[in-house]
């Protein structure tokens, strides 16, 4: 599946949004592999919770595609 071209990175609690071209990010960030198919990521929302950062990737239709839980250190 083709990527629409850009990904918006958001950190909860920060007013800033960073928009990056898909060519500027690794493929493992730009796409999530679901059921054997590569689904484009268009929005990445990170939130710091305690000692962890939780990063959630969303698809073009607003669907939550995956969540990455940071290791404590």
């Amino acid at each position: 599946m083709n990527h629409p071209g850009t990904i918006v990175f958001v950190e909860v609690g920060s007013p800033e949004e960073k928009v990056m071209k898909v060519t500027e990010v690794p493929e493992s960030v730009a796409f999530v592999k679901l059921n054997g198919a590569k689904v484009p990521v268009v929005r990445v929302v990170a939130q710091v919770v305690g000692a962890q950062r939780i990063i959630v990737s969303y698809g073009a239709d607003g669907a939550r595609l995956s969540a990455t839980y940071q290791s404590k250190s």
């Binding site: 679901l34 919770v49 995956s66 404590k72």
Partner: protein, 390 residues
Amino acid sequence: MSVKLGPKVDPRTAVIPGPTRATASSEAKETRAGWNPLARRPITQVHHRPAPGPTPPPMEDHPVVDHLEQQLLWAALPAQRQKQLHALIESTSAIGNRARAAIARVVEAEDFAGLTPAEQAVRVSAAAFSPPVIPELTIGDLENTRPLLELSRRQEARVRGFEFAGAAPAEVKVTTVTIAGHEVKITEATTPLPAGLHQHSTETIIDALRRMPLDALKQIQEVQLSSARSPTDAFYAQLYGKPDFRAYMNCGADGVVGVFPFTEAGEQNCTQNCVHSTHTVSSTLVHEAGHSWSMRTYGHASEQGWKDWEAAAARDNMALSAYAKSSVDEDIGEATVLYLESRGTPHFDTYRALYPNRFALLDRQFNPAAAPQPPAPRAVPPQFSGSGDR
């Protein structure tokens, strides 16, 4: 009027009395000394772990908190708030203890007696519910006393050429287990881990899966135990300015979970309340199961299910946890942990009283026979403040 806070306080007093300015300190001390940790609410089942940081001392009896419903301020609370507050202060869980301690601090404040009942109600409500009853995250925050689910079948195989995310093809051990009738595949790297790093064993993951509520387990298809770092680490390290950023777990909407090597050796054998414990792994998977069912059932962002959930959350008028406030997705994930992890325990009714409208929707998902009819839709104000909102 100076009314001493103590066992002889008339619970029908019109306005909750507070210590006078001259005696506030000594009386507050006396009140705390008078709390009898064994007198009224023995904490026999602590479903919620106390929050990190300073924990209030065990608090069981308090002359005002125990008779809150007989105070004038009670009438100033909306009916639903009364039900929620009643459930909270009567709860034998740690969240009940925390709330009672917070309310006690408020009513012992020097200026409290001079407030109107409506003002007192606002303060008491804020003390009990703000910040959220669950401070950060429900993941790993709930005790789990359920018996392990039955492991009925186990099959192992070696597979060559398997590709973990970001790693070269390698031989892996694939263990297929059937737990309570549900099949899960666990793929474990056989490549040696880099020095200083640790990874869960297949046995640990089987244990974590067996600790899950069955309704959540059904959402998990595969767990992959990699011996290589996540391919996203370098990018996120740079993006977030954290050179030591390391992903621990990645959960996809298809029920495939990736676990990456971690550094904390001491936590490997931890059973509760640490990031890499079996308990936390299990709890995290329950949270992710909440995303799986909601995506599958509610579908695309514009569909009615999400709006129904937002409306239910607005009617509950209370955050589930600080993390749940970030988006409707996370609210569902957190609610699913709370619902499934507490089901079958005495605390389930407490949580249902606190979050009745969300629990009604979860009934439709996990207990349709007992689910009430859906409420009529109505306009609600925006509930979620995070950037990941639908």
